[in-house]
Symmetry: C2
Subunit: 242 residues, 2 copies
Amino acid sequence: MAQDHTVKSFDDELMRLRNLIARMGGLAEVQLASAIRAVIKRDSSLAEATIQSDGKVDDLEREIDDLALKILALRQPMAVDLRAILSSLKVGTDIERIADYAANIAKRSLALNQVASVRPVHAIPRMGQVVKEMIKDVLDAYLNGDVEKAVRVWKRDEELDEMYSSLFRELLTYMMEDARNITASTHLLFIAKNIERIGDHATNIAETLHFLVKGAPLREARPKHDETSYAVVKPASAGGKG
Amino acid sequence: MAQDHTVKSFDDELMRLRNLIARMGGLAEVQLASAIRAVIKRDSSLAEATIQSDGKVDDLEREIDDLALKILALRQPMAVDLRAILSSLKVGTDIERIADYAANIAKRSLALNQVASVRPVHAIPRMGQVVKEMIKDVLDAYLNGDVEKAVRVWKRDEELDEMYSSLFRELLTYMMEDARNITASTHLLFIAKNIERIGDHATNIAETLHFLVKGAPLREARPKHDETSYAVVKPASAGGKG
């Protein structure tokens, strides 16, 4: 009877950990959607609210860390339970980063709202839609242990990288056309980069789930990574310069 | 006798984990120094070598993860040993990110070398020096359990944030002066942002050590964070525009 109780309580703790991940993931999803909406709608009040809420995600990460530490110390779990708890810690870190990038997007939207809108902002809804779907799908996959779904998200990161790469070049060209576009374009560049990084954290979560379920790292052909680090765009008027 | 052997072997494993962190940290320091040197000296061959070496850091992180998992599973450590192992996992992640940012700096230096040099690049040696010292000091502090030294690094992050903030505004102004500066300035912006992010990971390591040694989070007045997300710079010629 005491034994039953102990085992039941351990299951309860694992369930509590899982629920914390689910809540934290849900909160990060809302933060991300609000941040992107704040950019698109030029809604400074929503941006402020999003920045304020970031602390809630950090609090949940600390709760996850504390509970995981407690389970490890008291239960000394083996094999798959141990891997599940370490995966929770990793996924918690990824979700915290996703929410942090969302808060940064919200901050930059406040700067954007102080200057005239620039044309390339129209890429943000599309990138935002893709990244929101990726985060939703990878969190669903993680909570349901659905490796195939996670791998599909992992592969989709390439799509996001390509959108970012194309926007990067468009923004550089746009800045060259008119110096008044530079401040807005720079913040848009960083917003797009933040979205691209959020996609990378979605792939991290997919990799963590793969390792948790399969016991081996995900090693297919990796999705292409952001290649804009190498990009050089020259202004039309400077074509002849050495 | 069997007991002694077990304990000795456990100490050996903890020492091995510590040595892996030390090696990984040393490697990340070299990667960071090479990346910054590649930018300053416009040395594409050094940049290529730095990009190539990033895989070694990733391999060490996997070794750390595997060993930590093995120790947790076989030894089921309690209290401070358990915290030390979880800290190793966290610090390993931070070092991996530091090296990843260094590789990104090296990639961007290759793009910079394809265009004419821009004046604000002169801020990079100073920012690079500060961040290199922060990483060296925080790794020393972590390996020696020196919390006071770690807290000094944590506070120094403010200096780096201020340098980044000042460079951010300088680069925007510089782009506005001449469209031919835009590509180089954009890559410099991201290089400076990468350096600023590396500083954040140094503060993470300081916080992890503080929690490990003191059992409580580091909660003094936090160093100021990057405020450039809010920055708006207008070109001189557009002063009258609404």
